[in-house]
């Protein structure tokens, strides 16, 4: 009995000591790192082969650029206060989604009002069910915003790589769509299943085949993901006048698509 009390006391003391130690909740410098969080709505759960996609996104970003990123991205619910912790989230799916609750609408609206960027990735562009549902629900969040096509003229296509079109697991349409705010994309719609192209199993194999161009297309999908991340981190930095002459020369040197 006495030994048991002593054990409990030791545990309590240990817990107190742990509590008193300053919390390195995130290492200094990681607070502002890119975090491709998955936004969950309704009763949705984050599972399946694409769950490795966000980590791969971060990995590609840190490997290719100077930007820091969370290598173990998290998920966040649309009605959770944590949605306001960081300015980026990914909303993806294959099927139709139930209507957002009022709390979810309010949560996403506050997220966007603060300047957050939402990437809407249609995992099944062949059917387009999720894409249509997401547009329908986001119209409730932003009644005044309507998606418009964005192509190579947009900063998203030159925020790190000079991209000639958008691709993912499927080639899809060359353009993305976006709801703009102040001239820059705030909600980005992709009908390309970008996370599907990024997903990679622990053994290094890719669970989804990229069609029609295989691995070169997967590379282009990774570049699109890097560009989206860089856009989130730098906003319209590459629209600055100082970059214009360089980028115009390079664009001019590109072969026509």
């Amino acid at each position: 009995m006495r030994a048991r009390v002593t054990s409990v006391l030791l545990v309590v003391v240990a817990l107190l000591l742990v509590a008193l130690v300053p919390r390195p909740s995130r290492a200094f410098g990681e607070e502002g790192a890119f975090n491709p969080r998955i936004l969950l709505t309704g009763t949705a759960r984050w599972e399946g082969a694409r769950t490795t996609g966000p980590a791969r996104w971060s990995e590609e970003l840190t490997r290719r650029t100077s930007a820091p990123a969370r290598l173990t991205p998290t998920t966040v619910r649309a009605d959770a206060p944590a949605l306001l912790a960081e300015p980026f989230a990914i909303w993806g799916g294959e099927d139709d989604v139930p209507a957002l609750t009022d709390r979810e609408v309010l949560g996403i609206r506050r997220f966007l009002a603060l300047g957050g960027v939402l990437f809407v990735d249609d995992f099944a562009p062949e059917s387009g069910a999720f894409g249509k549902a997401a547009r329908r629900e986001l119209a409730r969040v932003l009644p005044d915003g309507a998606p418009i096509p964005i192509g190579t003229e947009n900063v998203l296509f030159r925020s790190f790589y000079l991209l000639r079109r958008a691709v993912g697991r499927v080639e899809g349409e060359p353009k993305l769509e976006a709801i703009l705010r102040g001239g820059v994309p705030q909600v980005i719609f992709a009908k390309h299943d970008v996370l599907g192209a990024l997903a990679r199993a622990a053994n290094g194999t890719h669970p989804f085949v990229v069609v029609p161009n295989g691995e070169p297309q997967r590379e282009q999908a990774a570049r699109l993901a890097v560009n989206i991340a860089m856009f989130v981190l730098c906003s319209n930095y590459k629209d600055d006048q100082v970059h214009a002459p360089f980028l115009m020369r390079r664009r001019a040197a590109e072969p026509s698509p």
Binding site: P22, E31, G32, L114, S159, L162, V232, V242, H243
Partner: protein, 769 residues
């Protein structure tokens, strides 16, 4: 005592006149009658006339009036010029002030019958000359009854303006006795009235007072002098944009001014002034205007020195150098934003900089390090080289502020430019270093010239800790609570900050720096709380150290949502505003209402913000040498009322007045953290020159005085001609009067009856009826 005769007061004056007329008529009729008759006409006329006069006397009954009285002189106001220009050379080797003293003496002699009332005019309403004596300002002066006004003028403090029109308006509207004449003693070089239509302006100033204004010229000949008469800017001064300055050079007294070298230099915090432009003026005709184009890169009050190399024989060398304070505005604030890597903190700051229409931002972010594998040839990348050499050598002066955010100086070639970046700050540029894993000590800034301009010290030891990864909530210092720079943020979030995921490790605040936020637990080597946000002044520029990389949480977080994300903008708007000396974020305003004239007492006006309580310490340093000229202090009672501080007599040159306000509730340092007790500071640059505008043009203007006299019916004379001034005559004023009849009434009646009887007898004997 005087005696006079007058009729009795019984009869009204009209009857008295009628009686006199009847008497005259009677004598005339008698004369006509006697002319036609024969016999002794002379006797008849004599007795007849006497009888008529006797009858008149019986009617009027004359009385004797004895009265006592005195002569009272009219009031004559003497307006003596007390502007600085009367200390310029006058005739015969004397100053104009000495000539004015002589003039007052001559006036007192010539106007012995008038009451002279001396006033000194210059700026504002004229002041009684005797006040200067009463104030004891004339040390060693004799104030006997003889030329007391002159002694008072010797004691009068020179004024920065010469407003005769204002002085005359004041005299004309005064409620006391109106003057019978006004006498002006001056050299004629007025601010008001101007050269054109001076007479009309003075007549208008007199209003309903119609008195002559006499003028006494204190000088008629210009001294041998070449001077910088005026420096005018053609338009507003905007940073980075060419500005044309028109420099008017004067030449008088027969000097050889064919080629007068003119130079225009900017005073610096330390070191010699920087030459901005130069030229040569041909002022042989008496004056010349030279246009010099300059470009001022720094906004705020900039002090320019305009000087000439005067020809030999110049008797007033003090006006060869003038100082001009140019308030340089910004069209837009040009900010160079350099970030070592893209993060949410970089994103937040960039979004704010781009959203502010008054900010012109040039950004360079390091998007790729040499070790990154981009998996693409360079032509497929939207990356451009970081033009570090071009930016920090050629283009640096064109920026108002530089933001180094989480940027390592070593790998990207910035290290070799740190000295020029420090010089940039010294010359007036703004610098903000924002924290991150590659800022401050980890960013290789410790021990560099740039570290010297930061408001915090950096540990340069080999084992120096760069970052502290423990989360914490920044704490607002006492200075932070009082500083207007955190005011907008306080209005939104109070003093509570969101939790920060660690901080850069920095040392103590440098002398003169102000710590607004501090670490709640971490200490500096000296034992004080570690600064998190510190503001500092270095040379002519300002620097900010922000040792965290989480200010974006003011924009995007559950905490930020409470203020709708506006806290981030409020925070950075104020930081950049303070860096650019935006008056909204200065803890106080320092002014010099009367400017600064070398060798004369200078008064600073300190305007604190309402609610500020504590001690204000004002340190005046000379620009160029940094030598401390004065240290003043004042108590602030929280009412926000302006305080006048006597800075004493300063030498010619540029100065900076730095005000530090230590809140009264700051308390004593408990842990050796002297730096944390330092209050918010503000600064004002100013210049002192000898003579100022009043000495810029040394020529007297007797023509203007003559015009004023002519327009008002007065006379214009020199001091030697004061005796010819037509001063008004004195007036007799009665004080006592006694009336006594010459004879009793019955005696007048009896006398008249006897004279009438005698005349009747003479007439009968002469055969007249």
């Amino acid at each position: 005592m005087t005696t006079s005769l007058a009729p009795s007061g019984d009869l009204a004056p009209s009857y008295q006149l009628l009686a006199a007329l009847l008497t005259v008529l009677g004598i005339v009729l008698l004369a006509l009658e006697l002319k036609r008759s024969r016999g002794s006409r002379l006797l008849a006329f004599a007795t007849g006339s006497l009888a008529s006069i006797g009858l008149l006397c019986a009617v009027l009954r004359p009385v004797a009036i004895q009265s006592k009285g005195s002569l009272v002189g009219p009031r004559v106001v003497v307006l003596a010029d007390a502007s600085r220009s009367i200390d310029l050379p006058g005739p015969a080797g004397k100053t104009r002030r000495e000539e004015a003293v002589r003039a007052l003496g001559e006036l007192q002699k010539h106007g012995a019958e008038v009451r002279l009332y001396g006033l000194a005019f210059g700026k504002g309403a004229p002041t009684p000359l005797t006040a200067a004596l009463a104030n004891g300002a004339a040390e060693g002066t004799q104030s006997g009854p003889e030329n007391r006004l002159g002694q008072a003028l010797l004691a009068a403090r020179p004024m920065p303006r010469s407003d005769l029109a204002g002085a005359i308006e004041s005299v004309a509207r005064a409620a006391d006795e109106r003057p019978a004449a006004i006498v002006v003693l001056s050299d004629g070089r007025f601010d008001r009235p101007g050269e054109a239509q001076a007479g009309e302006a003075i007549r208008a100033a007199l209003g309903t007072l119609t008195v002559p204004v006499h003028a006494v010229s204190l000088a008629t000949e210009a001294p041998r002098d070449a001077s910088v008469r005026a420096v005018r800017a053609a338009g507003a001064a905007v940073a980075h944009q060419p500005l044309t300055l028109r420099v008017e050079i004067g030449c008088a007294g027969g000097l050889d001014c064919d080629e007068v070298p003119v130079s225009l230099r900017e005073l610096r915090e330390s070191g010699e002034p920087t030459l901005l432009a130069s030229g040569k003026a041909n002022a042989s005709s008496g004056s010349a205007t030279l246009e010099l184009e300059v470009t001022l890169d720094r906004a705020g009050a900039r002090i320019l020195e305009v000087s000439i190399d005067a020809p030999d024989g110049d008797v007033v060398p003090d006006n060869d150098t003038r100082y001009v304070t140019i308030d340089v505005a910004r069209d837009r604030v040009r900010v160079l934003h350099v970030a070592g890597r893209p993060t949410y903190d970089v994103r937040a700051l960039r979004m704010w900089l781009k959203a502010d229409a008054s900010v012109d931002v040039v950004a360079f972010f390091i998007l790729r390090t040499p070790t990154d594998d981009v998996v693409a040839p360079s032509e497929e990348l939207a990356l451009i080289p970081f033009p570090v050499d071009e930016l920090f050598s050629e283009h640096l002066p064109s920026f108002d502020a530089v933001v180094l955010q989480d940027f390592n100086a070593a790998p990207y070639g910035l290290a070799k430019h740190l000295r020029s970046l420090a010089r940039y700050v010294d010359k007036g540029g703004g610098l903000i270093m924002v924290g991150g894993p590659d800022a401050f000590v980890p960013g290789n800034y410790a021990g560099t010239p740039l570290a010297e301009v930061l408001p915090v010290e950096l540990d340069r030891g080999p084992d120096a800790q760069g970052v502290d990864v423990a989360s914490f909530v920044p704490r607002t210092t006492e200075a932070g609570r009082a500083a207007p720079v955190l005011g907008p943020l306080r209005d939104l979030i109070g003093e509570e900050w969101p939790e920060m995921p660690g901080a850069n490790v920095v040392g103590d605040a440098r002398p003169g720096a102000t710590v607004l936020l501090e670490h709640p637990t971490r200490r500096t080597p000296k034992g004080g709380p570690m600064p998190i946000l510190a503001l500092g002044e270095h040379g002519s520029g300002r620097t900010i150290a922000l040792a965290i990389d989480g200010s974006h949480r003011l924009l995007f977080s559950a905490f930020a949502a409470n203020a709708a994300g506006r806290a981030h903008g409020a925070f950075w708007d104020a930081l950049l505003g303070w860096l650019m000396r935006d008056p909204r974020f200065e803890p106080a305003v320092v002014e010099l209402a009367d400017g600064c004239i070398a060798g004369e007492d200078t008064t600073l006006t300190l305007r604190p913000l309402p609610g500020q309580k504590g001690d204000a310490k004002i340190t005046i340093r000379k620009l160029g040498t940094g030598e401390e000229a004065r240290t003043l202090s004042a108590k602030l009672d929280g009412k926000g009322e302006p305080l006048s501080l006597d800075a004493g007599k300063l030498q010619p040159g540029g100065y900076s007045a730095t005000v530090e306000i230590v809140p009264s509730d700051a308390g004593a340092p408990s842990d050796g953290a002297a730096s944390a007790q330092r209050g918010p500071t503000t600064r004002r640059d100013f210049a002192c020159e000898r003579g100022g505008d009043e000495w810029a043009d040394t020529r007297p203007d007797p023509e203007r005085l003559a015009a004023i006299a002519a327009a008002t019916g007065g006379k214009s004379v020199t001091v030697d001609q004061i005796g010819s001034l037509p001063l008004p005559a004195a007036t007799q004023i009665a004080a006592e009067r006694r009336v006594s009849p010459l004879l009793p009434p019955w005696a007048w009646t009896l006398g008249a009856a006897m004279l009438v009887g005698a005349h009747w007898i003479v007439r009968r004997r002469g055969g007249l009826s």
